[in-house]
């Protein structure tokens, strides 16, 4: 590269980044430095920046909810039309399943009572806290992060790590608490890892998200045989969730049999309200 072309390059770069353009209040390099400062302060968990973050979050979450109204309307309409097509086929299947479940329920009630008695004896997590019902205000499933924003925060006693349920099914946990809002990390997120038990067989394992709509069983020795449609429950290890919350079913990948995928019971794209709960020991 000769000197003049190098000079041209330097002039073009300087003009693009350092010079303040007409009608621009800030130069690019100043704002880039500001972004780097923000990133650095976030990295070292600087307290004042956390307060700024919480304030911005409160405003942004509410604004985002308002701005998303038209798209959410379209989304719900699309989903409603789609579900109308499959409802008829599902109806007869569900009807016969309800009959079976009704008869099974009577048998199960006895087992539930017995289980509760036994858990009290072994001092396991049985008692539920008051559950908080929260409305989902943002459900932007970005391809990189699977999370939801709900309209309950520290004002409503939401705490970090609380379990989030859709009916009786686990959907995630609280990872960020603001004053009026909280963020829930869904089980399908790549960063979500929870201890689970696979029934029948009682094998312990870790369920991780895939970043899509399913999960995957990790850290399990190959000699354990897991059948398709085995049910996944929380194992209660680590003390975050109580044992026995239903999570999903095993779905074995046809292409790679070693891959044990998990089909979650709850459809995360359809969530509108969730229950936020924490669990404590029975005698606490």
């Amino acid at each position: 590269m000769d000197t003049s072309s190098r000079d041209d390059f330097v002039i073009a770069i300087r003009s693009a980044f350092l010079k303040k353009e007409t009608k621009q209040r800030f130069s690019l390099v100043f704002l880039i430095c500001l972004s780097l400062i923000f990133l650095g302060l976030t990295r070292i968990d600087f307290k004042p920046i956390n307060y700024v973050k919480i304030s911005i979050k409160e405003i942004v979450y509410r604004s985002s909810y308002v701005v998303s109204v038209p798209e959410n309307y379209l989304k719900r309409t699309y989903q409603a039309i789609q579900s109308h097509f499959i409802i008829y086929n599902d109806y007869f299947e569900i009807k016969s399943e309800i009959e079976k479940l009704k008869s099974q329920k009577n048998v199960d009630q006895f087992v539930v009572n017995e289980n509760e008695r036994l858990k009290k004896i072994i001092d396991d997590y049985v008692a539920d806290s008051d559950e908080i019902v929260a409305k989902i205000i943002i459900d932007k499933n970005s391809p990189f992060l699977r999370s939801l924003i709900v309209n309950k925060g520290s004002k409503n006693n939401v705490k970090l790590g609380m379990a989030v349920l859709d009916g009786n099914y686990l959907v995630g946990k609280v990872v960020e608490v603001n004053y009026l809002t909280s963020r829930i990390l869904l089980l399908s997120d790549l960063n979500s890892k929870i201890p689970v038990i696979i029934e029948p067989g009682g094998s312990q394992s870790i369920l991780s998200g895939t970043g899509r709509n399913d999960g995957i069983i990790q850290y399990m020795k190959e000699n354990y045989i897991i059948e398709e449609n085995s049910t996944i429950y929380t194992s209660g290890a680590g003390g975050l969730f109580k044992a026995g919350i239903p999570v999903g079913r095993i779905k074995i990948d046809e292409l790679n049999k070693k891959n044990k995928k998990v089909d979650f019971f709850s459809d995360f794209s359809q969530l509108r309200f969730v229950k936020i709960k924490s669990f404590k020991k029975g005698n606490d």
């Binding site: 621009q24 990133l39 973050k53 942004v60």
Partner: protein
Amino acid sequence: MVEISKITIANKVLRYAPILLLFISVLNEFDFNYLELKYFSFNFPFILIFYWSLKKSESLGYGLIFVSGLINDVVVGFPMGISSLAYLFICGSAAYFRNITLNPSLVKDWMFFLATILVVNSMIYSILVLFFSFSLNYNDLLVNLIFTFLLYVVCANLFEIYQRLVFGNQNV
């Protein structure tokens, strides 16, 4: 009089439409994820910022781009500052390209856009993985990059039509 003020307001809204669209897109993250197309996602703010910084830089204030980046981080859940950094880098890259280009053409813009988003996505990926221990799916990132690149042409043509309608033929 009322007519004149109505025209002025409408004119202002049209002139500030790119920045409004940017804010709506970061607040709303419209990405058609609800269609559940398995391999489809794109980054609309990247396209918008690159195009308007290249063609009509005064339409998007750098300060507002910085704020929109912070909003995007909050909505998506990334560490604050990362999207601002990416957006501003795109602005800088577009300004540099504007300075060195004598005969602008869509194909040249498109190729330079590809180079820019490759660098920006690599930068985001490296920062998130190395400094914030995020787990990111590399394939998803690649798919996002490819669709962002492909959709640039579509969006650029739409923006150009819009630009001709609102701003006339000046400075295209």
